[in-house]
């Protein structure tokens, strides 16, 4: 399966990486991504009140979005989820790897159902997967409201 054309290059690459793997290896890749999720910078660490909670994830996930001034309006993403929630961390890491550093327009153009192309439904179960759609929706809302 090839990623939809509207995906930013890094996200498209990730989608292709997942799609090429068998079901078990997709879980392994998600686990590796969960381990690579960057820690919060000092300005957010311990400041969950300045972040938005993604209630749709089965385990609490906190998210912050910054849009840099300038023509490109570069988007930066920050996530906080506990180590005992590796699946949620993995989802967040997909967002971070695929979208951090992209322009606001590119982030807003990502199809809301892009995550279906990752092929994680069989590995993770559709019920667990919906948190990813919610994460993207909240990222887009914050990008829009950043003006």
């Amino acid at each position: 399966m090839t990623a939809p054309a509207a995906l930013p290059p890094k996200l498209a690459e990730l989608v292709d990486d997942f799609a090429e793997l068998g079901v078990k290896d997709r879980l392994q890749l998600l686990l590796e991504l969960s381990e690579e999720l960057p820690a919060l910078p000092a300005r957010y660490s311990g400041h969950r009140d300045e972040m938005e909670q993604v209630h749709e994830c089965q385990t609490p996930l906190f998210l912050a979005v910054e849009v840099a001034p300038g023509a490109d309006r570069t988007v930066h993403l920050f996530f906080d989820a506990p180590p005992e929630a590796p699946t949620t961390r993995g989802f967040a890491s997909i967002m971070y790897t695929g979208l951090d550093g992209q322009s606001a327009d590119e982030v807003l153009a990502v199809p809301n159902d892009f995550y279906l192309a990752l092929g994680l439904g069989a590995a993770v179960s559709p019920l667990r997967l919906r948190g990813m759609a919610a994460m993207l929706a909240r990222i887009k809302n914050q990008v829009r409201s950043a003006g």
Binding site: H55, Q58, T59, P86, S125, L127
Partner: protein, 297 residues
Amino acid sequence: MPVPNDTNPKLAAYAHPERLVTTEWLAEQLGQPGLAVVESDEDVLLYDTGHIPGAVKVDWHTELNDPVTRDYVNGARFAELLGERGIGRDTTVVIYGDRNNWWAAYALWVFSLFGHQDVRLLDGGRAKWVAEGRELTKDQPTPATVDYPVIERDDSVIRAFKDDVLAHLGQPMVDVRSPGEYSGELLHMPDYPQEGAVRGGHIPGAASVPWARAAAEDATFKSREDLEAIYQQEQGLSPSDDVIAYCRIGERSSHTWFVLTHLLGFGRVRNYDGSWTEWGNSVRVPIAVGTERGSVK
């Protein structure tokens, strides 16, 4: 040879102490022939970040459910799954998991549908094992495949379907969801909007006892005395009652089923796994809203 029971005095007070083991006991028994340890979590990757040495993983969503029909796997698939994990029909199985053993209790209930005789929960689950600083490993065990017989599920004793619940109206029921779901303010569990229903409320007559009330702060089960105070003195249930428990998809109510059946010794408890995602989406079934139990007119 069956693995001996944990004779810890806290467990001895329960109706069926052989259904629980403590972390101390498990740490001593690891590696015993005839013992299998199974981790069953909400988070599908948690096992892979580190687990009790020798433990195998069984995932409820992807392995105990039929992939197409809303039902559990059949006898052939269950036999294949357990055989691959090195579990025989006589093996003592100890299950543990995240979130107060919520999914572990669900797995235990499904094992019980297949009549697996010796299946136990680790009191306190994964959280207690981790909090005590006990060993975790990322090493995946490679058990030799064993022959597990193909046994068809018996859904008649501990499982209730919608028609069973309709026939049961007026008799004791326990709704183990959150108060907001029970009253009908919430159409889904807090933080789980994807498992919603088009109507809110509860099955008329059901008592509201959120499942986690049975758990102590360290994720172990409360003492028998404390559990009796909740389910028997406060809610007026009796061990001789015919009880149906339900939640949203049947997982939290498996935990309550375990408490009533194995810890308090109730003789007839069924888990309605269709639960609110079936009842609250069904046409013309009776529903009560608000904090009162309500009744069927």
